[in-house]
Amino acid sequence: MTDIASLKRMERPAPPSGLSNALVFGWRAVLKFRHVPEQLFDLVMTPIMFTLLFTFVFGGALAGSPDDYLQFFLPGILVQTVVFNAVYSGMGLSTDFQKGLFDRFRTLPVWSLAPFAGLMVGDILRHLIAGMIILAIGLMLGYRPEAGILGVAGAFVLLLGIGFGVGWIFLVLGLLVRTPTTVMTLGFTFLFPVTFASNIMVDPATMPDWLRAFVEVNPVSLMTTAMRGLMAGTVTAAEIGRALIAPVALTVLLAPLTLILYRRK
């Protein structure tokens, strides 16, 4: 064994800023992509399958033709992608706790929220990559955003806001639930009804009244409506405002809760 006596003493460097700590956690997320490319597969496979199946199997029946249906469906599936994505970041958090990684982070004299800020950086990256892949597949299948590049850019900014807001639900879950698979099960049990009972797949006009009443106030529908508007260039400020209600409310409520839970743990 090489002599450990040869190891130099090392003094502590000047304390880093919270931002620099958060970026290190973001770098970690990028590295994980490189080492575990399968996780990207988890993130995009479901939305890709949904896009293909709904467009070609139901598209003609639901919207007259697969092309018209894709035009309707793609902005919504982006919302679903980001929302499902958030489940994986909750799982990641739960895994990190299980593996004791957070013990290491917490014995470092760093800003105690840096790990969460870092998770967020990683999430944003994941949302962007997954969103781009789905969009690219949509474009290949014939999807055309009427509002062009600017509209798409605007839609992606909104998408990140949605991912950020919804992300808190699963961070809280990741802190509360002991095993990553339970986080996933709980997450999807909650998300499947919420995304299906929305206007992502079908126009609620054909739904029974009681369901339509829910679908119309479902935050996922409000997000989808704004996404469609942004990509088609028909969006109104009110639509964007309504789409942001849930993300803002979730952040205001759950960010402090996340902190409390983390400090208690």
């Binding site: 002599d3 190891l7 003094e11 460097p13 880093p16 970690r28 290491r104």
Partner: protein
Amino acid sequence: MKDGPSTLAPDDPAIRVRGLARSFGATQAVAGIDLDVPRGMIFAILGPNGAGKTTLLRMLATLLEPDAGEATVMGHDLRRAPHAVRGAIAMTGQFASLDEDLTGRENLIMLSRLWGFGRRAARERAADLLAAFDLADAANRQVQDYSGGMRRRLDIAASLIVTPGVLFLDEPTTGLDPSARQKVWRLIRRLAASGVTILLTTQYLEEADQLAARIAVIDHGRKIAEGTSRELKAATGSGFLHVTLADAAELERAAGMLAARLGAGVQRGAEGAVLSVMAGSPEAANAALSELIAAGIGLADFSMGTPTLDEVFFALTGGSDAPAEEAAQ
């Protein structure tokens, strides 16, 4: 949060603990412990499963809030200046705290960057640590492919990015093979020689004996003894005779004869037909064994040696609380 200057005078202990306690529900994991660990010393906390070792270390490493009591680490108060404590310590937990998806090198670079090293300094420190811990060849492999011993070494390396004033090691060699254990022991000794105060926990008397200048024995969250290894053994006696009988049915008869010959305190092992007793000298042990053989009690095996942890416990607690007894009930 200001770290504040450490108020540590040269003779002050590196770790000073008074009445530290922590419960989980009805379980008193740590029930009021006092400790003074001088600077630069290797100090061992010896105790069986569930004694409260991990809980004690986690409190001292600011990972767990104590319910009562106080402690200073390198002069920083645990409750009032946890951030300053973190700046002066490093902890290697009972289970590796590494990112399994990343390589060994990436783990070290990430933690170096979190400490505040620049990109280049972080790379250099990671390379130095990997070389010093004999991990250079595995540096670019994912940690999930590491062996137990490699993980342990990487985990300890991760605690030395900044040379800590105090290093906490929670069961540093549990699960390692003898050669890996030797390596970790050597490493711990060298660290201590370089001035790092080390507080480690262990379930093995031998480990505490090999490494530590002082040992505190804890059980059920309480300290039941403290001293040098020599002092503890003197309290227990080192001439322990272990006898394995060929026939378990003879256990009571043999125990009676050993007690009559060598005095009270014959312990029945937790499993099998094993008896242990303080013999004092090899001559006395020899005489007792001859007596057993003469009485027609067959022996499968016998040995003289240092007391096991069970036996130290038995001696220290006067037998009221010995794990071997509990298991026999």
